[in-house]
Amino acid sequence: MNAVLEAHGLGKRYGRRWALADCDLTIPASRVVGLVGPNGAGKSTLLQLSVGLLTPSSGEVAVLGGTPAAKLGKIGFVAQDAPVYAGMTVADHLRIAAWANDGFDLEGARARVEQLDLPARQRAGRLSGGQRAQLALTLALAKKPKFLLLDEPVASLDPLARREFLQLLMAAVVEDDISVILSSHLIADLERACDYLVVLAGSHVQVAGPIDELVATHHRLTGPRQRGGQPLPSGQELVTESHTDVQSTLVVRHDTPILDPAWTVSVVSLEDLVLAYIARDKDTRGKREAQDPPSTPSARNLKVAS
């Protein structure tokens, strides 16, 4: 078993809307995976399906080689906004987590709480957002998980708390060889921590792979204005294109070196790479809507806005 997460045709539907559709995804072990996409892309849905908080409408998901329910003891999960019991103290949280999990490292958790300057007798409802996130992470880590999933863990934190949180996370990951997946709508949040990237947009997985590989195989091509869609050479895949009167800019994914001298090849930052895939998703959806006239008012609004 080398994959910590394997999804096949995974989907979740709410009424008529698919929050996640046709998700095929394999995440290898011992990676820190950034799950990136705009709000409403299905990141939270994917993570909640993976820890058994949601049941799939279609397909299946396996974590650590089993169903989420069967592997709960080996999964650590920090939910969005790090929910805690407002009326219970920090110490209470550690105590009941120790009762609810076999092999919970209570001593380690207490030491970490002290080290983080979390007031043990404070009610969790009066903690700051950053402290709450640290408490939630401490609880998840003390389970000694093999696989840690974090849903937008830093979204509500200020930059300093964000850095402290990621430091705490990375220290634990190095120490215990945990596989991690954490989601964010901003790649900048995760860039320093992650070595693997999954881009989710429009409830579909757009691209997934090791970050160094993605960076090595994506480039921006700048050249004279292209008239009509000239086909790219084989081994090169267009991600997005934009045109001015005289110039065309493409982002392509390529396995083979780019030899055409008409193009100026430049490096794509990770952020631009993510944005290119999100833009591609918007584009294809726009085209689909142009073919099938939108029937619902919301779909019409979307088109006017874009």
Binding site: T55, L72, F77, A79, Y85, G87, R95, A100, K143
Partner: protein, 336 residues
């Protein structure tokens, strides 16, 4: 998970136990004087002297407020527990998002639910049971003086039935909270649902726990007979059924062999003098004597001896409803 549930529930539990201590102290303080009052009034009167009605009135005039409080508390406690312990049990987790913490620990969701159910359910049973015990002791002189154990208020206050009510109210609160996912509306619906179910059982279910006993008695055995006017203004006789201490009288119908009731036309025919001299006793008594020859009183009732079987049947019915709600909730939680 029992420890987890207990730790999270200990504050409400301590509050309830403290309340119980206060109620027990109040009952212990006032109970003996009520018993003493009974011994000196109803307990001391002799039917031969004819002073028992006065003694009963004297006894019943005392501690009226306390009696009302006892009945209100006892009838209301299950609703309170359903609203404040049951409704938030799942709803608050869903509302605040803490279910994402609770249900991603190592134990399954159903184990979590079972732990909650065990701790809160046993607490509710203990609180209601101890309260009922204290009230049963306190109320015993009142019960002896007023043999009305089957009255809806008393039947639901004492015995084992309240245990069924509290289980049902709790399960209803939990189930409604799970469906509504919000505490406040769940509390309101729990209250309405609980009261509605209790009333429905009183009127439509409880009378049928056992086939009523049918007994035909002569009019002379009625506790009293009076003259009055029926709805359409005609004169009618009123029959008050005989006293059946602690029994539950369901109906009392006066008919003749042909099934006719002594309506105005029958009265006019049988007792013409009563219509003319309605204020006098003589024609009235002779009229009753005449009617008794052809009319009789058919009683349908549940005898006093059925009190405990009915209490157990009531407990069983509400416990079964609670079980159905718990199974439903577990099913909902699994496919959440």
């Amino acid at each position: 998970m029992i420890r987890v549930s207990y730790w999270q529930f200990r504050l409400p539990l301590y509050i309830a136990l403290a309340g119980l201590v206060v109620v027990a102290a109040a009952a212990g303080e006032t109970g003996p004087s009520l018993a003493h009052l009974y011994d000196t009034t109803v307990g001391a009167c002799k039917p031969a002297d004819g002073n028992c009605r006065a003694a009963l009135r004297l006894f019943n005039a005392d501690d009226v407020l306390l009696r009302a409080i006892v009945q209100t508390l006892s009838l209301g406690l299950p609703a309170i527990i359903g609203m404040f312990w049951g409704a938030p049990l799942v709803a608050r987790e869903l509302e605040t998002g803490t279910f994402r913490l609770a249900w991603t620990q190592s134990r399954s969701r159903l184990t979590w639910f079972a732990g909650k159910l065990a701790v809160v359910g046993l607490s509710a049973l203990a609180v209601q049971g101890l309260l009922s015990l204290a009230f049963t002791w306190w109320w015993s002189p009142v019960g002896r003086a007023n043999p009305t154990q089957f009255s809806p208020a008393q039947f639901g206050t004492f015995g084992v039935a309240p245990l069924g009510y509290v289980l049902f109210a709790l399960a209803l609160g939990i189930a409604v909270g799970t469906v509504f996912r919000r505490t406040l509306p769940a509390m309101a619906v729990t209250l309405v649902g609980f009261i509605g179910t209790r009333l429905a059982v009183i009127f439509w279910v409880r009378p049928h726990f056992a086939a009523a006993v049918r007994s035909v008695v002569s009019l002379n055995q009625s506790s009293s007979i009076g003259v009055g006017f029926s709805d359409n203004g005609q004169m009618a006789l009123r029959f008050f059924p005989p006293d059946l201490p602690n029994a539950w009288l369901l109906s009392s119908t006066v008919t003749n062999a042909a099934g006719q009731q002594p309506a105005g036309s029958v009265l006019a025919q049988q007792c013409p003098s009563l219509i003319q001299h309605q204020a006098e006793n003589q024609p009235f008594n002779s009229c009753v004597a005449t009617l008794s020859k052809t009319f009789h009183d058919t009683l349908l009732y549940q005898p006093a001896s059925r009190y405990w079987p009915f209490q157990w049947a009531e407990l069983g019915s509400f416990a079964a409803l609670a079980a159905v709600l718990v199974v439903f909730t577990a099913w909902r939680l699994r496919r959440q």
